[in-house]
């Protein structure tokens, strides 16, 4: 996102603010598809003269867009290999198919996978195996699904590429993959471990399965889950190279989108090598179709809308107000960002929230001694926005995907029933983040 160099009048500030509030309102109402709302609002930003087209395009963070699309293509191809089912079954067998052990292992698999891949894709692939395992063990799937929601959102917070808020923050600030690993992963390990404690006391200690039922799960042959060994090897190689690319991106002077998009292109090349032209077109199209275009266009529209508001100087004004409120105190500002991000992200989509907060926090740089002084605020935003998503069923898209599976399996996750347990556990994770930020940065 770029600075607010465009000169703006008070009138356009109001216009942008009204458009922005209406956009958020309509997105929250969920009456119109969110990508459509964002694109219409982006069009209006230009037509109403708040931005011209050039400025609007400058507002789109193509590094975020490229990184998202690249990773989505890589996942679309990788999932065909069956590796995710393999991991889930392998993990379950490692703990002799003991119910609580499986819950812990499935949570770990979900968290680690979500740290590198899209959370929605992760749960989409791991939930069906988990439901099969719980059915074989004759235990209730609810605690497992609950733990998976938490694990996917917690795991996603751990890395630059784990969750859209982190991708946006990293892209806007130049913080690297290694920065995220160094600053966020330690906190996330603690949060994940502590989250499992209430889950154990509420459900875990009551989970029981007979030796015969466990035996049935132990007889699963995880190697049969791999449907295409050649593809699997190609995918693992490319994912390994992409992760290495992220780690060394800074020294190689590469941006994350370049790494992800090149990785996607190489994987498309390998997976289609030697196939006929028609077959290639079919497979490439299939991979492109798996890209979540609704999310991508939502980002595009949103970036323009937020840039429009930013260009009128409104966000700078709000940042000044917030700084004045805290008296320029870094600790107070970090805490306000952490806790308000968490509570808001539990209720609204964290993507538009973070998109708005980024220019707002950037505008605080002069108060806190330049770009570097903002570091704790970025971590506060990331922890709040990502972990907050656990608070309610609508807090993150992955939650809704899990709820969909639960519903179809005849074990629906009720909104209130979920919130009553999830919201306090989410607050616990924010409390841990508070201590972590305070101890390490403030």
């Amino acid at each position: 996102m770029h600075g607010s160099s465009e000169v703006a009048s008070v009138g356009s500030m109001w216009l942008a603010a009204i458009l922005f509030v209406i956009t958020y309102g309509v997105v929250m109402s969920e009456k119109v598809n969110r990508a459509v709302v964002a694109l219409v609002a982006a069009g209006l930003m230009i037509i109403l003269g708040i931005l011209n087209q050039e400025a609007a395009i400058r507002g789109i963070d193509f590094n975020t867009i490229g990184l998202l699309i690249g990773m989505m293509v890589i996942v679309a191809i990788t999932r065909q290999s069956g590796i995710f089912q393999f991991l889930a079954i392998w993990a379950a067998k490692k703990v002799d198919a003991r119910p609580w052990g499986i819950l812990v292992m499935i949570s770990l698999v979900t968290a680690v996978t979500s740290a590198f891949l899209d959370n929605v894709t992760t749960v989409l692939l791991v939930v069906p195996v988990t439901l099969l395992i719980t059915e074989e063990l004759k235990v209730k799937p609810y605690p497992y699904l609950f733990a998976m929601i938490f694990a996917s959102n917690i795991g996603g917070t751990a890395t630059l590429i784990g969750d859209p808020p982190n991708i946006m923050i990293g892209s806007a600030t130049g913080l690297t993959f290694n920065d995220f690993a160094y600053h966020l992963t330690p906190a996330i390990l603690v949060v994940l471990a502590v989250t499992l404690i209430p889950i154990y006391f509420i459900w875990g200690r009551h989970l029981k399965a007979t030796p015969e039922d466990r035996q049935r799960v132990m007889q699963f042959n995880e190697f049969e889950a791999i449907t295409n060994w050649r593809l699997l090897k190609q995918c693992l190689t490319v994912i390994g190279l992409v992760v290495a690319g992220f780690v060394f991106a800074h020294s190689l002077k590469l941006e994350a989108a370049t790494v992800a998009m090149t990785g996607a292109a190489v994987l498309l090349l390998l997976a289609n090598f030697g196939k006929g032209p028609d077959d290639q077109s079919k497979h490439v199209l299939e991979a492109f179709n798996e890209v979540e275009w609704i999310t991508i266009f939502f980002f595009v529209g949103l970036f323009i809308v937020v840039h429009g508001v930013d260009s009128t100087g409104l966000l700078k004004l709000l940042a000044e107000k917030m700084v004045a409120m805290t008296g320029g105190n870094l600790t107070a500002t970090a805490m306000i960002i952490l806790w308000s991000s968490a509570i808001l992200s539990a209720i609204i989509d964290n993507i538009p929230f973070v998109a708005t907060m980024i220019p707002l926090i950037k505008a605080m740089a002069p108060t806190f001694g330049g770009e570097h002084g903002l570091l704790p605020l970025w971590w506060a935003l990331s922890l709040g926005a990502c972990l907050g998503g656990n608070g309610t069923l609508v807090g993150a898209s992955a939650n809704l995907v899990v709820a969909g599976f639960a519903e179809r399996a005849g074990q629906p996750i009720r909104f209130l029933q979920y919130t009553l347990v999830a919201f306090p556990i989410m607050l616990l994770s924010i409390l841990i983040s508070t201590f972590y930020l305070y101890w390490r940065y403030l």
């Binding site: 069906p128 059915e135 599976f405 179809r408």
Partner: protein, 152 residues
């Protein structure tokens, strides 16, 4: 030719509260593939079929349309499958119905054949347009007999 002239007007039916065991017994005994299920007013509710029985032997997790696309890692024995079906024998059939597209008494032959082809079914329920009552059922065999009979 219209549906009412092809259909079997007295098909064997089930009530929604009949058990899976009852349905299975009839399917086996009479070698039927589809049993229409009707309520007390005779209205068509859905069909319990041999496919319902197949579903009953499988874990629910593999039936989800967004679920597992590969189950070759599950090494269940025939005993395990039989046990699952056995465990569900007292469930009412209403939980396991397929609702097929229906024909009406005046639906024409070609439409009926298309319903069979597109619905991947060998039997089409014939239902009254206004009150939804089951009037009869047309099996693949009914159609075939009429076809070959007329071409002779």
């Amino acid at each position: 030719m219209k549906a009412k002239l092809i259909m079997n007007p007295n098909p064997m039916t089930l009530r929604p509260t009949d058990t899976v065991a009852t349905a299975a017994e009839r399917i086996l005994k009479h070698h039927l593939r589809h049993l229409p299920v009707i309520d007390e007013q005779g209205r068509y509710l859905g069909t319990f079929s041999v496919y319902s029985l197949l579903k009953l032997t499988l874990p629910k997790a593999v039936l989800d349309e967004h679920g597992l696309d590969n189950v070759s890692f599950v090494t269940e024995s025939l005993d395990d499958l039989a046990q699952r079906l056995g465990g569900r024998r007292d469930e009412p059939v209403k939980n396991w119905l397929n609702v097929h597209e229906v024909a009406h008494p005046d639906t024409l032959a070609m439409k009926i054949m298309l319903l069979m082809l597109e619905g991947r079914t060998t039997s089409v329920p014939v239902v009254d347009k206004t009150d939804g009552r089951l009037e009869g059922i047309i099996s693949f065999w009914d159609v075939l007999e009429k076809l070959i009979g007329e071409n002779k």
